[in-house]
Symmetry: D2
Subunit: 251 residues, 4 copies
Amino acid sequence: MADKIRVTIWNEYLHELEDDTVEAIYPNGIHQTIAEGIGRHGNFEVTTATLNEPEHGLSEQVLQATDVLIWWGHKAHAQVSEEVVDRAQQQILSGMGLVVLHSGHFSKLFKRILGTNCSLKWREADEKERLWNLEPSHPIMEGIPDYFELEQEEMYGERFDIPTPDKLLMISWFQGGEVFRSACTWQQGHGKVFYFRPGHETYPTYHNDYVVRIIANACKWSRRRVDLPNQEALQVEAIEPVPNPGKEHIV
Amino acid sequence: MADKIRVTIWNEYLHELEDDTVEAIYPNGIHQTIAEGIGRHGNFEVTTATLNEPEHGLSEQVLQATDVLIWWGHKAHAQVSEEVVDRAQQQILSGMGLVVLHSGHFSKLFKRILGTNCSLKWREADEKERLWNLEPSHPIMEGIPDYFELEQEEMYGERFDIPTPDKLLMISWFQGGEVFRSACTWQQGHGKVFYFRPGHETYPTYHNDYVVRIIANACKWSRRRVDLPNQEALQVEAIEPVPNPGKEHIV
Amino acid sequence: MADKIRVTIWNEYLHELEDDTVEAIYPNGIHQTIAEGIGRHGNFEVTTATLNEPEHGLSEQVLQATDVLIWWGHKAHAQVSEEVVDRAQQQILSGMGLVVLHSGHFSKLFKRILGTNCSLKWREADEKERLWNLEPSHPIMEGIPDYFELEQEEMYGERFDIPTPDKLLMISWFQGGEVFRSACTWQQGHGKVFYFRPGHETYPTYHNDYVVRIIANACKWSRRRVDLPNQEALQVEAIEPVPNPGKEHIV
Amino acid sequence: MADKIRVTIWNEYLHELEDDTVEAIYPNGIHQTIAEGIGRHGNFEVTTATLNEPEHGLSEQVLQATDVLIWWGHKAHAQVSEEVVDRAQQQILSGMGLVVLHSGHFSKLFKRILGTNCSLKWREADEKERLWNLEPSHPIMEGIPDYFELEQEEMYGERFDIPTPDKLLMISWFQGGEVFRSACTWQQGHGKVFYFRPGHETYPTYHNDYVVRIIANACKWSRRRVDLPNQEALQVEAIEPVPNPGKEHIV
């Protein structure tokens, strides 16, 4: 495996340019804040890519050189081209990691790789979120306490329309009375997929050190394994039968 | 399958005899209230059994004639004999359903059938519990709305030390700030196992119609299938090899 | 739930019209043989649909009136329109069952609903397949012995690129030395999905009674539940905090 | 995490002392051959322990200093004390890895940690086993080709009475016509559990380099994480309600 994990952070990058509140929190874009944050928790070679770049910044070449793709999108999911979604899906199935954040739940790529609608309930009421750690021994939870809080966040509530996660790492409690499966893992093909709920653009969530630590841990967990052997079409020899297999036994 | 589902409700039956508060809520024992409750939601042939009966009321004969065993216990887990636990475990692995309620999480039988410690956090603070329905299309959730509330309950909090459930059906939100995986399914051997959180003895939880409906649904879901074939020690014939299997292809 | 399960059998229906060998085995098409076969094992209201019908015979109206969609395709996957795939996917996520047969593993719909490439190894060598029953108590295995054999079938070998199945019901042994996960279940959204391997068009596989019994059982298992409640946007009331939650305990 | 993985190899160590055939293959015991084998594939600090040592060589002190416990047993499962089984189970739930080999499937410890009977079919007919690799990107399969063969082994056949594995890594094809889930992973508590089928005492299986490589990989995968935080009983503060949560939305 390469020494440095090559992370590509994809951000829609529209809210920050259009809304003063968001710009004040993320003056260089959510992607830059995440890049700085995960840099405090690991040895990453970070690239960023945004919607308005050619091919959304995700050419075949870029994706092949990506060990983990982080995805933040919200209001322009429909503008992401099918071709880029196809391409990213194939890279994931071949081993590239995928870390989907917050409103990325409704991105074409997340819905494509999981096969479900990924719908949920939501509410903006400046309410407190408390995230409980269900799997303290999982590598994505390294350094995370029993719970931590975000003073204000958008609420996401169940039913979250996802396939049953392989592992459910965190459940969120919201002040208004809802719960949510906030940190979930899956494997699809040879790729590891992680969804992490927090991160509404009007709150300083990606300045929270627990939040970026979890994202950094997820990059380490989901990184592409470069030594994956290709599946081969084998020439298989005929095998002689056992002369007398005899009776089975049961224990 | 038999027409009527044969349910055996096991209750420790100590709190009701020793504590006036509990007696006032469950004058004939928690087991009788559950028996009446599930009777409103299905066609069950109900038997009850308690700790102080010979063999805790769970002879080999009783268990063989049981399609689903419901379990409520709390303060006397240690008094349940290993022999009865062994016997019940074998019946579950052979196809008997098991529905474990509330403090039964810490029973010998539940820990035995799952292999983990089944520990959790708890607090008695007369707080509200709101249970969210994650799987409205699962048969155990039939007739259950998006959520329902219990005005006062004991709090159970994560981390609940259980194997990842096959299906997580409900998550509880507690007024004091905790969350809990409150309705979980597993299969062990040929037996279906369901855990359902609510039911502290000092609250009238088993008089709640949603609660008993879920228990009734779980009995239908986990019922023993009486036509299960036994595994046989087979006499297997030698199979000639394919003369020339040739090369594999890959799609 | 409706009394009769409404099954729509979709067949590409090209081999039977173009190849004498296949026509001899399935003179009215694979779909008709499957229709007759499952009719011996259940109370189904069967409709058929084929590629060359308008909208491939799968209009919105047809799918809404379908409890289970069976899918057989092979050489013309690319001709199935994206619109029909979208439509069928949404019906599955809303609760319609899906039973995918043999080379349907590579259909657009199966890949869409699972999110993976569903690739595998294959070989045509007229070899024997022996299918082992791993879950005799699962409803799809009702009436199926420990194993059964198909004298000649196409070989499918691992690695089969699918998400880990919820339940693996059968594994195939092939005479030439390969193995395959031949009967797999998943849930996606509210829909139950079943894949069943056997059924190459040049062999009389769908005349085998075990094969059609499994398909019939799968229709019963995956049938749409018509009483599924819609998820609602709720008006949630503020909940007062617990005055003094106090300290948690751990057991 | 410690630099060297501390592995304790437990072997019943009876066959080698009582049977000339077995002694000829494993003159210093199966445990020594495994110790040498895994040493070629990793940096392990290996200790061995056997049935006839005091406490079977598995004192509390030994287990606390063990990152991964490997288990081989066959004819004397009943002689293993309940106390040692309890102790090892608690260490696994706290994070110690467990690698169970071949006939260890029927050990008290494996049945305890999984909760099922772990029964299976078997036959001794000197037949060929071909093991197929289903998950080439899983760390336990590192360096393992699409398949490898063992010229002669004991046959194990399904149904193997285990909980559905988290990941199924290999399926065995046997010359006599059976199949078996040969390499399976689970998590129980904070411990990772791996079962690997091959290793009958009358064959030189643990001299096969693929076999010991898989065991070495499994030790790396399942190693205890020493920095696991203890769960704490928290003092939780009251949380004020959201003044006006308002209506939920659905996407």
